[in-house]
């Protein structure tokens, strides 16, 4: 199969909106980078910041398939789980293997891609909602294997004592190192998705999302492009897995349940489906709010479920849709308000 023009430079120059986003994102990443040395946050705050960056990276990956291509993946966390378990198996005492993380990250992405390819291919030729059920089933199967293939995954107990990440001969110890590693992953995802969204591929995805029949009629190879979105997203989740597993020194089946997939999905749709800023905002909100509901897992998911329904009915485009200019719009609204009150 010939790959689409993924690495071909985009024909169009950056659109002004995208350039603004890229600048805003650079500022955001810089702010995030100085956070640990700013003295503003303690260890608990750093852990929270790590969680936000981690979930934002996952949400950006899921946004590729749900937001850009309009396909529902309900087993997304399974790809993350495949990545995390790959590192856990290859870099722990489970089999006495100790592969370096720099090697395992691309390998994990590759394995996740292969699984994504295998299971998405039969369904992508059909209606989009079949994919939702197949991915739901896939997520359940990966969880089942994590629980039952005891020889490989250590079953329900999970794998402990995973090697810390070593980069350029330096061993990462403590949360700060992993925070920066995850931030690099997030930055890669941010610029990759911004660039992809504005490219020929991104515009083809948008066409498929809006009207698949029309997209096909305009000569877009819809199956191939949907497959690309799905596998890229799986690869992103697969690559994040090893970083997370190394940071916790542990991975277990409880961390890759359907609930986690649903949580990341809610981040994407709450923030604004298809929007890079939205996915990040969604991660911030849904990491911070559940802190208050921590002891009530069920209550938390009632809130998550209700949020999904309400967003779809009241504001299906999410809090910050892709082309919104929240600050500019707010200023304009204030200005118009002033005009009204001034007249009265």
């Amino acid at each position: 199969m010939r790959l689409p023009s993924f690495f071909r430079p985009a024909i169009l120059p950056m659109r002004s909106g995208e350039a603004t986003s890229a600048r805003a994102m650079s500022v955001l990443i810089l702010l995030a980078a100085v956070l640990p040395v700013s003295g503003l946050i303690n260890d608990v705050g750093l852990q929270l910041a790590f969680n936000i960056v981690f979930y934002a990276t996952l949400a950006l990956g899921l946004n590729l398939v749900v937001g850009f291509a309009g396909l529902l993946n309900l087993g997304y966390i399974a790809f993350f789980g495949i990545g995390a378990y790959t590192y856990a198996i290859l870099a722990s005492d489970q089999f006495g293997l100790h592969w370096p993380i720099a090697l395992v990250i691309p390998l994990a992405a590759l394995i996740a891609t292969a699984f994504g390819f295998l299971f998405a291919l039969p369904t992508l030729r059909l209606r989009g909602d079949y994919l939702a059920v197949v991915t739901l089933g896939f997520g359940a199967i990966v969880e089942l294997i994590a629980n039952n293939a005891i020889g490989l995954t250590n079953g329900p107990k999970g794998i402990y004592g995973i090697d810390p990440a070593q980069l350029f001969g330096v061993e990462l110890s403590g949360m700060t190192g992993y925070y920066y590693l995850m931030l690099v992953a997030a930055a890669v995802m941010i610029f990759l998705t911004l660039r992809l969204g504005a490219s020929r591929i991104g515009r083809s995805w948008a066409a498929i999302r809006e009207d698949e029949a029309a997209a096909r009629a305009s000569g877009i190879d819809t199956v191939r492009l949907k497959l690309l979105a799905f596998t890229l997203s799986a690869a992103a989740a697969g690559a994040v897995g090893p970083i997370f597993a190394a940071s916790q020194a542990y991975i277990g089946p409880m961390q890759i349940t359907i609930d986690a997939s649903v949580l990341v999905l809610t981040m994407v749709i709450l923030g604004g489906t298809g929007s890079v800023r939205g996915a990040i905002l969604g991660a911030v909100i849904l990491v911070l709010i559940p802190e208050f509901l921590r002891d009530f897992a069920a209550a938390r998911f009632v809130v998550v479920g209700a949020t999904m329904v309400i967003i779809m009915i009241v504001r299906p485009q999410g809090l910050i849709p892709p082309n919104a200019r929240p600050v500019g719009d707010l200023l304009a609204r204030i200005a118009s308000l002033r005009k009204v009150t001034g007249r009265a």
Binding site: F119, I258, V302, I313
Partner: protein, 310 residues
Amino acid sequence: VEQLPGALINGLTLGSVYALIALSYTMVYGVLRLINFAFAGLFTVGAYGAIYFVGALGLGTPATLPAALLLVGLGLGVAMLVAGVVGVAVERVAYFPLRRSKSILAPLISALGMSLVLVNGLQLIAGTEPKFFPSVLQETVTIAGIRMTGIQLLVIPLSLALMAVLYVFVTKTSLGLKIQATSENLETAQLMGISVNRTIMLVFFIGSALGGAAGLLYTLYYGVAIPTMGFGPSIKAFTAAILGGIGNIPGAMLGGLLLGIAESLVSTYVSAATGGALGPNYQDVFVFLILIAVLTFRPQGLLGERLRTK
């Protein structure tokens, strides 16, 4: 080999429960082209409704066979009513406002959200610990050399009867014709003077009631109910609906029964066939592989017509 009749009976029992839920999926999919993820919750809500109702009446384990049958009948009625009413409420709240939505994503996400609300809401109200329906019909009987429990003897004909009633209702009554017309073409049905709204609510009521009945039968078969128990059966029932041909009522029945039998055979024999390398827990993997295989080789299902992509 001596396990075969038992495995078949187990498979038929599970399969008839799957068939009931598959019918719910198929009916809703038929009229709205929507996968109603909320069935995972409605299944459990129905079972819990019956358990609480029977508990509130202070009914314990019945002593005689007629009393036991009466208790199951009462439980089924309550389960179907509760699930049906909640199902219609779900349709009003979560799907009706999105009926004109162009995106196929929005109703799916809304359905998923509703399923979370139902399952976790139930967990908040009823707690996570298992609940029990009074144990009935636990005696085993041997018919033609096959041992089965009274429950199995009840579940299979009862599900078949429900399916038969549904089939007659949809094909022979005027309300059923309205459902058929609506699922054929919503706009045209409306132009013909059919109240599409009322028909869709009816479909949701019937579908959810079947789901609730399935929930109680499943509870009777396994002896306990927990809030998350709907997840597995609902994925399997969806597989069954696709296997039979989604939107097709006899297909859903056939798909459910076949899937139940396949699952039971796999869980009985796979462990021995692989020398214990794969335990009976892996039956779900095989169900999933069946789903993938059907979607690859015969996406329209065994009895279905080819579905258009949009």
